[in-house]
Subunit: 235 residues, 2 copies
DNA sequence: CGGGCGAGGATTGTATAAAGTTTCGCCTGT
DNA sequence: ACAGGCGAAACTTTATACAATCCTCGCCCG
């Protein structure tokens, strides 16, 4: 943004206590350790991170703005619970943005970056090999963030961070349980196309990768019983 | 969002005092009444809106997350000052997203919506006719937001709100002063194409509209003197 | 007379306390 | 036995007080 010199609220500045809280909660959500609907009490989190409620509150507000936490007035903060409609919107947005990101990534592709991506791929493979589902899902999302960082497009990066976090919740809620290994192979193909500077192929691979993820979802209303009631009766 | 029933932090719920502050400041920025770099003191704003610093602070944090305010640690909040690089990113993102929004808007086009758009066009023309520059620039941005609302795509809407606000700052900073009437005619053409349900034409018109706005900008570093110094010397 | 230094004032960051709202258990009345 | 209401506890919201940091301005020294 305008101030590259200042560690903005969004910066990965770990010395900031608010950032630590936000990143801790985000990581927990990305690793599927926090389930949708979970209450995030201020005291509770404050005790965990040794911070006062003031700081916890600002962290939660930031997460709310990112769409992975819902703050309900006088009731508190809860891990968001995306609806099927939300899911479709998120993936449509990703199908639109990520090919554009890949294009920029190719422009910025340097040996150092390619190396970084390949190191990430091995990390993904290792996690998958050892059956670490939590690391797998986290790394899978991080791959996309890495490509966005590589693109150097800070606005796309910001948007995508939001979309990835929400995608994680969506996958947790709606993924069919019968689908085995996820897209590490896809990721490898994308890296390879980026390395070749083949924009056409890279965009196409990214697109089909996202389509495949979405195709693995079962986007039907869950908890039909109380969900219906909430929708029918709610304001 | 997951909770259509709850007025989220982002909702246009005017009864909320934080929202009032946020919307007041946003409006001032959109109308070019607050200039980039202006300091937004907490006490100052608190006095204006009769709110304690706690509420002002959360409003400012939300605005910072939207990218129209920069919060510098221990120094306060300032109206953002997008760089030319930021400007290019913002308009690239708009060129990507808004055609997609227009597509959805066509799907949702009803007589009521078309009517709403046309009423907006007359408002724009009236403001332009009476030479009200502030209303003009505000309504010009609102047109795009209106189309996004019409699309029913809440994620695109959220992204675009951010992009519009930043665009307003960018136009204020970088617009060539020799350009006369802005794009009310363009807007009319877009509405007409939407009314015809002609997606091809509507997308093309939106794209060329955005390109024209961007072409009217002079994206060179301003304040070469202290700007250069700040970039060279600043951390 | 210019530049460094330091105290004072102002402003932000953080914590804590007061106020308001919701929730849940319990108790009463039918 | 059960529905409904009352009340206390827990939590969020808001305000205020305190601490830390930064900026300004004047003073002193070279």
């Amino acid at each position: 943004m305008a101030a590259k010199t200042r560690p903005k609220s969004d910066a990965p500045d770990a010395s900031d206590r608010v950032s630590r809280i936000r990143e801790g909660v985000t990581a927990a959500i990305l690793e599927h350790r926090l389930l949708p609907g979970t209450k995030l009490g201020e005291d509770e989190i404050g005790d965990i991170y040794g911070a006062s409620r003031t700081l916890v509150r600002t962290a939660l507000q930031q997460l709310a703005h990112e769409g992975i936490v819902n703050i309900e007035k006088n009731r508190g903060a809860f891990v968001a619970r995306p609806t099927p409609a939300d899911a479709r919107e998120v993936f449509e947005a990703r199908r639109l943005i990520e090919p554009a990101i890949v294009d920029h990534a190719i422009d910025a592709a340097s040996p150092a970056w390619i190396n970084r991506l390949q190191r990430h791929l091995t990390e993904e493979r290792e996690a998958e090999l050892r059956g670490d589902a939590r690391a797998s899902v986290r790394l899978s999302g991080e791959f996309h963030r890495l490509v966005a960082e590589m693109s150097g497009h800070s606005i796309y990066l910001g948007f995508l961070k939001e979309l990835i976090a929400r995608s994680s919740l969506i996958i947790l809620l709606y993924r069919r349980h019968d689908t085995p290994a996820c897209g590490t192979d896809h990721h490898a193909g994308i890296v390879e196309a980026i390395g070749r500077r083949d924009g056409e192929a890279a965009r196409a691979l990214m697109l089909s990768h996202l389509q495949e993820i979405e195709a693995e979802l079962f986007l039907k209303e869950l908890d039909a019983a109380d969900r219906r009631l909430a929708d029918v009766l709610g304001a």
